[in-house]
């Protein structure tokens, strides 16, 4: 019994080291601080209940994320992972667009984009695309780990990621134009 208690304590200790990460993920998914807190709390409650299914030494962050995104889809989307289609942006690439339309060095444009605008752009992505960006770009998951968390093939991770990044770049380009970071008169 004492051994089981110390196992649970070690499990809880490790799980709590991922709290900030999970909270940020929950914020991006729900786009609401109260809902994010509820989602994280329920994730931990479920994790504790199913701790026997976690194999020590494996990727706990990925395991917790999988629990959280399943709860998110159950709760907020009625379990339906509907695929909202993204606008077809052809082969839009921010780098090429800036190269063609702006005299400001491309990387300098990135430096001038406000953090809040990037967060807004991420939160505007449809959830199925948003969660791939969260896992791979923000949390640094490999395609393989992201595929496991999301229950999709690696090829789908790659294609969603590509479309999501394109969408993000387009949104941030529009913002750069509107805010005058890129002079509008030179834009295509």
């Amino acid at each position: 019994m004492a051994e089981r208690e110390s196992d649970t304590a070690a499990f809880s200790q490790e799980a709590l080291t991922h709290l900030d990460t999970l909270y940020r993920g929950a914020l991006r998914l729900t786009r609401d601080p109260d809902r994010a807190q509820d989602l994280v709390q329920d994730t931990y409650v479920r994790a504790l209940r199913y701790q026997h299914s976690y194999q020590p030494g494996t990727n706990m962050k990925a395991w917790l994320f999988a629990i959280m995104r399943n709860l998110f889809w159950d709760r907020f989307k009625g379990g339906r992972q509907e695929d909202v289609s993204l606008d077809d942006l052809g082969d839009f690439a921010l780098y090429d667009t800036l190269k063609d339309t702006s005299e400001i060095p491309e990387t300098e444009v990135l430096n001038r984009i406000a953090a809040g605008e990037v967060v807004k752009a991420v939160e505007k992505l449809p959830p199925l695309h948003r969660e791939v960006v969260l896992l791979v770009d923000v949390e640094g998951f490999s395609y393989k780990d992201a595929a496991q968390v999301l229950g999709i093939p690696i090829g789908t991770v790659m294609s969603r990621l590509h479309r999501a990044r394109q969408q993000l770049q387009k949104q941030l380009y529009d913002y750069a134009l509107e805010s005058g970071i890129v002079p509008a008169e030179r834009s295509a």
């Binding site: 900030d20 909270y23 709390q41 921010l94 780098y95 984009i113 969260l134 791979v136 990044r165």
Partner: protein, 75 residues
């Protein structure tokens, strides 16, 4: 070894930035980038973009009240 073309290099852009290429593929890409400033510029822009998304989305911390509540639940 025949070095890759710009097109072949660009096809590996996202996987390179995401560290998904094998060591051999990384070496091949780097060899190309070393001698191709236009490709090198694109690659560093794409890396910069990935970094921007990460840094901007990593700024919040969980509220103290949530942490306390979880500590009560977990311990």
């Amino acid at each position: 070894m025949k070095s890759m073309t710009c097109d072949e290099c660009m096809q590996r852009l996202e996987q390179y930035v995401d560290r998904e290429l094998t060591d051999a593929e990384v070496r091949e890409v780097r060899l190309h980038l070393e001698f191709c400033p236009p490709c090198e510029e694109r690659f560093s822009f794409q890396s910069g973009f990935k970094r921007l998304v990460k840094v901007c989305c990593e700024q919040e911390k969980a509220p103290a009240a949530l942490r306390e509540k979880l500590q009560k639940i977990l311990f």
